[in-house]
Symmetry: C2
Subunit: 201 residues, 2 copies
């Protein structure tokens, strides 16, 4: 924007956001300047605080500004004894929205990927091993993604659990509810056959 | 996000951006935290500076952090003698990208709208009247939008110019280049007939 280097800089900076190209960064900048400067300032301060203060929970490694996140600190969730292993903090968000799980989590912040040099230590599996020994854990639920790397990571952790005599389970993969069988890819369909469940005795 | 009130607040604040709903605000927040904290901080500072420092040019009312914008200060553009009237700073951006106009602008920051109580003073037309008297102006080009309000505003300004003996023109409206005649709405088609241009003597 020839008339304002600051506006030009704002448009450029908005493009750090995923999915924001030249047209939408322009629309966003003009919208904030013309109609919502308070919203723009609120966003600026939220960004500053979040980028500077949010770190990782010492127990589960999810995003938090505290040393231990609210889920890890919750005594009811500790009593539950289940730990669900996920790849990212966004996965916790999705699982919490189901309201079906009341244990704790462990976030890998990725998956095993030898080609990219990502090994067990990079995923904090040394910390997980400590927890498997220190805590009373009834079940490890493996909710890594259904990709090759996710499966390899799940297997690796299942073996860790095996060696400590802790039960490990894998969440089910199959036809999405409301999905039509003929529309599902063959990989998903194979999974849904392999993972079939008995309906009578 | 139960594990981090700051992250929750960031997701909420991102929704001030036009076109950003719950899903994309979540994707944006996680992306910045996991992969681009530097980009997040750069955006925060760009927002703070832009919201606090960008005001309006004293001559043309477009967005600028200076008293007079670079276009108004440019002697070549002053010599040109043409002033193009637009509704928003974004319109200047679009016209500059054509590279076809080398005069100056006047931004109304809206259009006449008696029902909403927006009259000539709200659009800064008193300042425009001053400029019509003070400066040597060869032509006023009316580039308000082809809406009822835009047309009414253009007519009003054309009359102001008339009373001062200054030529006022309206930009052409018609079939977009590359558009197919049968796909164009009838309003546009009527405009393109009414605005037809002679091709021979
Ligand atoms: Zn935690
Ligand atoms: Zn100006």
């Amino acid at each position: 924007m020839q008339t304002s280097p600051l506006l030009e800089h704002l448009m450029q900076s908005l493009r750090s956001l995923p999915g924001v190209g030249p047209k939408s960064s322009q629309r966003m900048a003009f919208h904030l300047l013309q109609r919502d400067r308070a919203g723009g300032l609120r966003l600026a301060n939220a960004l500053l605080q979040a980028m500077n203060e949010i770190g990782h929970c010492e127990d589960c490694h999810t995003f938090t500004e505290q040393s231990h996140c609210n889920i890890c600190k919750n005594p009811k969730r500790q009593e539950n004894g289940q730990i669900c292993i996920v790849e990212t903090p966004a996965d916790i968000h999705a699982i919490e929205q189901t309201g079906q799980f009341s244990g704790r989590y462990f976030v890998l912040m990725g998956h095993l990927s030898p080609l990219d040099g990502i090994g067990p230590a990079d995923l904090g599996l040394d910390r997980l091993a400590e927890r498997l020994t220190e805590e009373t854990i009834s079940e490890i639920i493996l909710a890594t993604n259904p990709t090759i790397e996710g499966e390899v990571t799940a297997s690796y952790i299942a073996q860790m659990c095996e060696s400590k005599g802790i039960s490990a389970t894998r969440i089910a993969h199959g036809i999405p509810i409301g999905g039509e069988l003929e529309m599902v890819d063959s990989m998903t369909l194979s999974h849904s056959f392999a993972g079939r469940i008995k309906m009578n005795r």
